[in-house]
């Protein structure tokens, strides 16, 4: 009996010690864990309701946000869905479906029905470099001309892969014609944004010295030399043109050592940008997108040091007195490479 009691006592002491050690080590963990639980958008509510309908992506899934409710579009899970973009004059969107060696464009109805596959970039399984990437689709105001970034046809004996801006018809051949000439071995030209006058804004990468930079460029004619709207040291990209075509929101990285960004807005007059106005400094801001009525813009940025991107809203971003940014979502992990596609309610 005595032996049994001693054993029991020892077990209690050992368990107590183990618990104590556990608690002690627990206190040495940082209060905010590096690993955080990310919510599924359709199981959350935004902090406030934005007008119209936004399409957003998280972890390769496309969501519709309308009236404060996220809805999973339940698109086929055969790759990573990203970069939704509106089709003017309709409630449809164009989106990218990315696979391991290629990506394709799809035309999708507002509630997620796949209307049509627009490209076929899976060329070869044996010589994978003959496959193609297509990203950043943007449809012009006519609702039928599309602009994309596309890696030009290649040979098998070169390492070169650069994006150029290509254009074509939405429902026939989106990559019918090359519009820009990228600098070689830089990654090339991305994020095309068509203007009402037929010109195209985009971000052009170039290497200067030992560093790589991006500049907002304007393509006035196919394959012509571009007009640069920002300086090389500003390192700006992701141009988003306001609905009235008078303002350009952009993400600039100059002077941050690629450890942060700034969200800026500048007026657009002809082939010139005005002096940029700083909306958010010292952030990881990305993916600006204007509200359909131009009343403000949304963008992605982390809200805390876990680094997951949330949606933010700035009212009056085009005006002289923009409001402070307001966090629209919490606990999400939005794809910062996919600006929101924003449709007005009709």
């Amino acid at each position: 009996m005595r032996r049994a009691l001693t054993t029991l006592l020892l077990l209690v002491l050992m368990a107590g010690f183990g618990f104590g050690v556990n608690r002690f080590l627990g206190t040495k963990r940082h209060a905010q864990s590096a690993q955080t639980v990310v919510a599924v958008p359709s199981q959350t509510k935004p902090a406030f309701v934005l007008p119209g309908t936004l399409y957003l992506t998280q972890h390769g899934t496309l969501y519709r946000l309308n009236g404060g409710v996220f809805t999973d579009l339940h698109l086929p899970a055969t790759g990573t869905w990203m970069q939704p973009s509106t089709v003017p004059g309709s409630q449809s969107i164009v989106a990218v479906l990315r696979n391991s060696a290629y990506s394709d464009l799809y035309l999708i109805g507002g509630w997620g029905q796949v209307i049509r596959k627009l490209t076929d970039n899976a060329i070869s399984t044996s010589t994978i470099q003959f496959n193609h990437w297509v990203y950043w689709p943007r449809v012009a105001a006519d609702g039928s001309t599309i602009y994309v970034s596309y890696d030009s046809p290649k040979t098998s004996d070169s390492y070169r892969v650069d994006f150029a801006v290509w254009t074509g018809m939405l429902t026939s051949k989106p990559t019918a014609r090359e519009l820009t000439v990228p600098y070689q071995y830089t990654g090339g030209d991305v994020q095309a944004t068509p203007l009402a006058n037929g010109q195209v804004l985009y971000a052009k990468y170039q290497i200067s010295g030992a560093n790589v930079f991006s500049r907002i460029a304007l393509q006035t004619r196919p394959l012509a030399l571009p007009v640069f709207l920002t300086a090389i040291d500003d390192d700006c990209s992701q141009p988003a043109v306001s609905p009235d075509q008078t303002q350009v929101a952009m993400i600039c990285e100059g002077g941050t050592g690629l450890q942060g960004t700034r969200l800026e807005v500048a007026s657009l007059t002809g082939t010139k940008l005005g002096t940029p106005r700083l909306l958010v400094d010292n952030c990881l801001c990305a993916a600006p997108a204007w509200a359909p009525d131009g009343s403000g813009l949304v963008y992605d940025a982390p809200a805390d040091s876990t680094g997951h991107f949330q949606l933010w809203w700035i009212a009056g971003a085009a005006g002289p007195a923009p409001k402070l940014p307001k966090e629209v979502t919490t606990s999400l992990d939005l794809d910062a490479l996919s600006p929101a596609a924003w449709l007005s309610n009709q």
């Binding site: 963990r29 391991s100 470099q129 290649k154 390492y159 050592g257 690629l258 990305a286 680094g307």
Partner: protein
């Protein structure tokens, strides 16, 4: 109290601590570098120290004890001022090796492990290295995943049609296509590895890659703010055979507050691009010839002489 030694041993074990023992290298056969073996003396606590960070492709193409170091970053850390200098040493730099002969510096580790890599750097650059840390491909992936991913402003579209498919596939010589798109984003381990490992589509080749590697290290520094000492055994355990260092768990733990206190304005990044080096062909190898007249004064601005 009888549990405490066991806890200590367990912590040390999960840290995969390796005591560095630098054996004198064999005669160097005409190599001009000094043959004097540096003493592995660690810097006193609180004093500035130098650490050699080594990264290897340790996939199935290589036997586990003969891997090259695709990444070599010499870092000088001053805990008092929070000043950090990171010097990327190009993998193709053609230098005298500690084990004898002259070859690409990435072969030093392959020939003689971490001690040979450390000795080669110490002799060729005339600096003292206090510690080293080596990480393999999967180690980096696991480390980044373990800290919940990193935030990186990727510099440009990093496109590579000849990226080695040696982690996921059965054929380590196969290729895959990689497209890391530009801009701020939250990267998991696999995609961060693609960003720091790809080089075929970059005009700057290995120099561009070195810059991206330093960038990811800085992003990891930001994550150090979220870690405590109790997280380290978990992390070390996850990296298993893909990480080694001559630092103990308490020493690594001591680095966490330093890393989190380092501000970006206090970080100096050095890349030995031309004119510090120049391309050449030696035998059948494409190499980089060091311009020591430029390199050494630059290095000794930041790293004390032996």
């Amino acid at each position: 109290m009888y549990f405490l030694p066991a806890i200590g041993v367990a912590l040390a074990d999960t840290g995969h601590t390796i005591q560095r023992t630098i054996a004198p290298p064999p005669p160097s056969g005409g190599v001009s570098a000094s043959t004097q073996t540096p003493q592995p003396t660690a810097a006193a606590p609180g004093q500035p120290f130098t650490v050699l960070l080594l990264g290897s492709d340790n996939d199935a193409k290589f036997s586990s004890d003969h891997v090259l170091t695709q990444s070599m970053i010499l870092a000088r850390v001053d805990p008092t001022t929070g000043h950090v200098v990171m010097l990327s040493i190009p993998r193709d730099l053609f230098v005298p090796l500690a084990g004898g002969g002259t070859d690409k510096i990435d072969k030093a580790y392959s020939n003689g492990g971490a001690s040979a890599a450390v000795t080669t750097v110490e002799r060729d650059f005339g600096v003292h290295v206090d510690h080293y840390a080596w990480i393999g491909l999967l180690g980096l992936v696991k480390l980044i995943d373990k800290v919940g991913g990193i935030d990186v402003v990727t510099s440009n579209p990093v496109l590579d049609d000849f990226y080695p498919a040696d982690i996921s596939g059965s054929n380590p010589y196969a290729y895959e296509r990689v497209a890391v798109l530009p801009g701020p984003q939250h990267l998991d381990g696999i995609h961060a590895l693609e960003y720091v490992r790809s080089r075929h589509g970059d005009l700057r080749s290995d120099f561009g890659r070195s810059q991206r590697q330093q960038q990811v290290l800085l992003a990891l520094r930001a994550k150090a703010k979220l870690l405590g000492i109790a997280d380290l055994p978990d992390i070390a355990d996850a990296m298993a055979n893909d990480f080694s260092t001559d630092m103990s768990i308490p020493q690594v733990a001591g680095l966490l507050p330093i890393a989190s206190n380092v501000t970006l304005s206090n970080v100096q990044q050095v890349i030995l691009a031309p004119p510090y080096s120049s391309s050449a062909q030696v035998g059948a190898q494409d190499v980089l010839l060091p311009n020591w007249n430029l390199i050494l004064p630059e290095v000794h601005k930041f790293f004390p002489l032996v």
